[in-house]
Symmetry: C2
Subunit: 151 residues, 2 copies
DNA sequence: TGACCAACGTTAGTTGCACCAACGATTGGA
DNA sequence: TCCAATCGTTGGTGCAACTAACGTTGGTCA
C-alpha cells in the first residue's frame, strides 16, 4: 500500500458510484495482480485460459470475443502461453486464416491453481461483507455490466 | 463501443467479484472519460478540483492525500489547472517548502459544470438499478473500499 | 471466373492511470 | 547542530485498453 487516503477523500466522491467502482477496482486489480504474479501470470493469461477451458478449442478471434481481450493482445498472450506449454497453437485445416488454440493438460492444471489463488483473493476483498451481501454485490454489478454491454 | 463480449464471457468470470469490479470500472471509466473530455477535462483534474472545493486551500501534498492522486501527478495537474485559471498556486509564506493551491471562482464554476456532467453519467451507469439498489451498491462498495484502505 | 468485401492474425504503435526513485530545498525535533 | 522527515519536482516504469495498418485467406455475387 502506498498512498491511500490518510485524510478523507471528498464526500462528493465517496458517494459517487463511478468513483467507488474505479477505486475499488484499482485496489482489486492490485491484489489480483500481485497474487497472480506469484504464479508468474497476469490477468490476460488467466482470462484466456479460462475462456479456452470453458469454450474448448477456439480461434484467437473467438478467444478475444469470449474473454474481452483485444485480438491484438491475444497474440502476445498466446505466444507466452505456448512458450510455457499451457496451450497449443495449430493452424486450422478448415480455414487457413485461423489458428486453433487448445489448452493443454498442463494448462488445465495451471488454471486450477490460479482458480484457487483467485478464490482466496475474493475472500479477502469481500471480507467485510456477509454472504448475502456478497451475492447481492455480484448481482448488482452483473446488472450494471449487462447494461453497459448494450450501448 | 468496441469489443464487448459478442459471445458470453466465461461463467467463471461472470460470478467473480474482482472481475466484475474491473469490468464495470472499465466501462464506467470509458464513459466518464468521454464525458469529461467534452469539457476538456480528465479524471485527475476533477478530483483535484473537488478536493480543493471541499477542503479549502491546501498544499499539493494535502491535495494528493485527499483525492488519491500521487503527488508526482498532482504537479502536472496543477500546472494544467493554473494554465486554465481554475486554481492559483502561491508559495506558503509559513513553510517555504509548500505551495498553497486555491481554487478560483472560475474553477468553482467549472467544478459545478463537471458535477452536473457526472451526475448524468451516474444515472446512465446505474440505469438498470432501482433507487434502493443504487444506494445499496454504493454502500457495499464503500465497505469494500474502506476495508482495502487498511491493509 | 473474377472482383470485392469481410474476417483473421500480426505488428507497431498511442493513451490513461497508477506508481516508483531520486533530487534539492526546507523544516522540525533530538 | 545534526538528522530525519516533508515538500515539490523530474523523469521515468508497467499494465491494460485501444487503434491503425497490413498481408493472407474465405465467402459472395456479378
Amino acid at each position: 500500500m502506498d498512498l491511500m487516503a490518510d485524510d478523507s477523500p471528498p464526500t462528493r466522491l465517496r458517494t459517487m458510484a463511478s468513483w467507488l467502482m474505479t477505486q475499488v477496482a484499482v485496489g482489486a486489480d492490485r491484489v489480483v495482480g500481485e497474487r497472480l504474479a506469484t504464479a508468474d501470470t497476469r490477468r490476460h493469461h488467466y482470462r484466456v485460459l479460462a475462456a479456452l477451458d470453458e469454450s474448448g478449442p477456439s480461434s484467437q478471434a473467438e478467444v478475444a470475443r469470449n474473454c474481452g481481450v483485444h485480438s491484438s493482445d491475444v497474440v502476445a498472450v498466446v505466444n507466452d502461453l505456448v512458450g510455457k506449454g499451457l496451450v497449443d497453437r495449430s493452424p486450422d485445416p478448415a480455414d487457413r486464416r485461423r489458428n486453433t488454440i487448445t489448452i493443454t493438460a498442463v494448462g488445465v492444471g495451471k488454471l486450477r491453481e490460479l482458480d484457487a489463488l483467485l478464490a482466496d483473493v475474493q475472500d479477502e476483498l469481500l471480507a467485510p461483507l456477509t454472504t448475502d451481501e456478497r451475492t447481492e454485490l455480484v448481482r448488482l454489478l452483473g446488472l450494471v455490466l449487462e447494461h453497459q454491454g448494450r450501448s
